[in-house]
């Protein structure tokens, strides 16, 4: 299986502190992967690098079948290349309605001229209806996103991510602030999405990770500590020492 995303030998320092240390990571085109690791392990920073927010000091990041280096692309270009991201803290446009938020995210031309000429089509409306039904926000289309509950905002952000139709989704702590039922629903959704796309999920909740039932990468001090099935990595003594054994 050829990889969709290939990160190799990446290093990032903030004022001399190595947040990412010679990290190598790859994921296939239709694969679900969980990343776990203690606070400050560099999980979010890893996502920052892939999405172009942070530029690495060294190493390479390649994306696609005929690999293009993401290091030369801007955040917007990387997003257009097919990488979507959900942030750790839910970030939706609070002053705009659920419908507007989703319209912004819908896959379409992104240039100012194209957006000026854009008119909503029946297909777009159907897509928005389907997405909101999928995440249980069908009744809230006309509500401003700022009035939604924390969990609903998480769902809206996931729906926006799907609306972009990315080939790779980076999902940072999706279950934070969700009830148990919501978490289970999120798991199902992520597993379902990963049938056709690559999905990387960062999560601290071990039950959540177990339900994802996928390959797990453990990060520690900016490098991969262990990789494999959840059972495999949880048996690893170093993983127990630095992460599992703490609490």
């Amino acid at each position: 299986m050829s990889a969709l995303l290939e990160v190799s030998g990446v290093t990032v320092s903030f004022d001399g502190f190595r947040a990412i240390n010679n990290l190598t990571f790859s994921i296939g085109a239709a694969e679900l992967r969980a990343i776990i690791g203690p606070n400050g392990a560099g999980k979010s920073t890893f996502m920052d690098i892939v999405t172009g927010k942070t530029r690495p000091d060294s190493g390479s990041v390649n994306f696609g079948e005929r690999p293009v280096s993401l290091l030369k692309l801007s955040e917007a270009q990387i997003a257009r290349a097919g990488i979507g991201r959900k942030f750790q803290r839910p970030t939706v446009f609070e002053d705009q309605t659920v419908h507007e938020n989703l319209t912004l995210a819908l896959k379409a031309a992104r240039s100012p001229w194209a957006v000026l000429a854009w008119r909503k089509s029946a297909a777009d409306e159907d897509r928005i209806a389907a997405l909101t039904a999928q995440v249980g926000l069908a009744d809230s289309l006309a509500k401003k996103a700022g009035t939604l509950s924390h969990g609903q905002k998480q769902w809206l952000e996931i729906a926006m991510l799907l609306a972009q139709e990315p080939r790779l989704l980076l999902v940072d702590e999706p279950a934070a602030g969700m009830t148990l039922a919501e978490r289970e629903k999120t798991t199902e959704l992520l597993v379902d999405i990963a049938r056709t796309r690559a999905v990387v999920v960062v999560e601290h909740d071990m039950d959540f990770v177990r339900r994802l039932n996928c390959k797990v990468t453990v990060l520690h001090e900016g490098a991969v500590l262990a990789e494999g099935s959840l059972d495999h990595v949880t048996k690893n003594q170093t993983v127990i020492d630095v992460y599992l054994g703490r609490g």
Binding site: T51, K53, S74, E75, A76, Q77, A79, R80, G84, R85, F87, T91, F93, E94, D95, Q96, E100, T103, L104, A105, R110, S111, P112, V115, L116, W118, K120, K143, K144, A145, G146, T147, M160, Q164
Partner: protein, 403 residues
């Protein structure tokens, strides 16, 4: 059936139409003076500039404090043609008294001496090359401010200058331009500026008629721009720029080029301001580099803030109200108030009053005057417990978002 979202635009257009007709009738019956018609026409142009300011600041969150530079540049561009063509008429008329018809060289020499005598020059500078052609000079109304905005914006946004730094940069831009134009060898008559712009070449009608023409043109420009901007802000483009205002990093991760949108809005609003200036200065009759003073652009922001940013009619109300009050107070016709310990002379105290009003609006009605209209519409406001609606400096504050 009209969508409720378009109701404010329809009400605005109807009010503007009634106002225009009322002023026209009043002028016909001599109820308002020609100079007052000009004041109202100029006010409409300022409202037009305020619309542009609202688009860039209220909607896109970019507090530009340099947009009156584009307004003045538009005025200079149209002023060059007005002054040239008018002087040409005078020169030809005076030369034809001599008997022999004047040669083109003599005429252009005569024009140059007439226009540039005050700054001790007698040649037309190269930038006046197109001044003999109205279409070309009108093209420059768009091209010169548009190009300046494009270059300035490209440099600023590409380096991701935002917030207060961008505001300072735009102040520096308008100041630098003003200082340059103050020089006699800038080619635009230094601190004399361009004058006699109220005289339209080839027009024999009196100022009472001309003032109405410009008043109508200003009203039409305001109406058309309002409709155009309303269409823009209520569509997906408006949604993108409001998203940029509240959280530009998030917009980048959706695949939109934030810098491209900022540059687009900056240039578009610069051109709108230039248009407004091109209509304003023929009514004012004179333009000089003082019009590009940094304070002029700050006023523009104050009007929009007082009117309520992020709603187009708010910008118009703010600009009309504050600029009309300002010309009333500074016109010396308001009786002074004798307080016993001293007198309040409004010419001096108007700015203090304006400053206090600004502070009061910010404190007690953050949505500005336009926000008062929203009391009638019962839309739920996001409950943010006092937090702004996004992490960015320009993002809408909670109180502004309540509709």
């Amino acid at each position: 059936m009209t969508h409720p979202r378009h109701r404010s635009a329809l009400i605005f257009l109807a009010s503007l139409a009634i106002f225009t007709i009322a002023v026209t009738i009043a002028a016909q019956f001599g109820l308002v003076s020609t100079s007052f018609v000009k004041t109202l026409g100029k006010t409409l142009c300022l409202c037009l500039a305020a619309l542009a300011m609202d688009l860039i600041w209220g909607y896109a969150g970019i507090l530009s404090l340099g947009h009156m530079a584009f307004f003045a540049l538009g005025g200079y561009m149209v002023g060059m043609w007005l002054m040239y063509a008018r002087t040409e008429e005078i020169v030809i008329a005076s030369m034809s008294n001599g008997g022999l018809p004047a040669t083109p060289e003599e005429i252009s020499q005569g024009i140059a001496t007439q226009i540039f005598g005050v700054v001790g020059a007698s040649d037309l500078p190269a930038i006046w090359s197109f001044a003999n052609s109205l279409p070309l000079q009108l093209a420059l109304v768009v091209a010169v401010p548009g190009l300046l905005a494009l270059i300035f914006g490209w440099l600023a946004f590409r380096s991701r200058v935002t917030g207060v730094y961008l505001s300072i940069l735009t102040q520096a831009m308008t100041l630098a331009l003003a200082l340059y134009l103050f020089q006699n060898d800038s080619g635009l008559r230094g601190n004399n500026g361009l004058s006699g712009l109220q005289n339209l070449p080839g027009v024999t009608a009196g100022q009472d008629a001309v003032s109405l023409w410009f008043f109508w043109a200003s009203a039409a420009a305001l109406a058309l721009t309002y409709v155009g901007l309303h269409a823009i802000v209520s569509g997906k483009f408006g949604s993108v720029i409001r998203a940029i205002r509240d959280d530009e990093a998030r917009v980048r991760f959706l695949g939109y080029s934030v810098e491209g949108y900022k540059l687009f809005v900056f240039t578009l609003t610069a051109v709108i301001c230039a248009f407004a200036g091109a209509l304003y200065y023929p009514q004012a009759g004179i333009i000089n580099p003082a019009e590009l003073a940094p304070i002029a652009s700050i006023y523009l922001a104050v009007w929009v803030a007082v009117g309520g940013r992020g709603r187009l009619y708010g910008a118009v109300i703010g600009a009309a109200l504050v600029s009309l009050l300002s010309s009333w107070f500074t016109g010396g016709r308001v009786p002074s108030v004798d307080l016993g310990i001293g007198t309040i002379n409004w010419v001096d105290w108007w700015l203090v009053l304006l400053g206090l009003t600004f502070v009061c609006v910010t404190l007690f009605s953050p949505k500005g005057i336009g926000g008062l209209f929203d009391r009638f519409a019962g839309v739920h406001a996001p409950d943010r417990k006092g937090a702004p609606l996004g992490p960015d400096d320009g993002s809408l504050q909670e109180k502004e978002a309540q509709e």
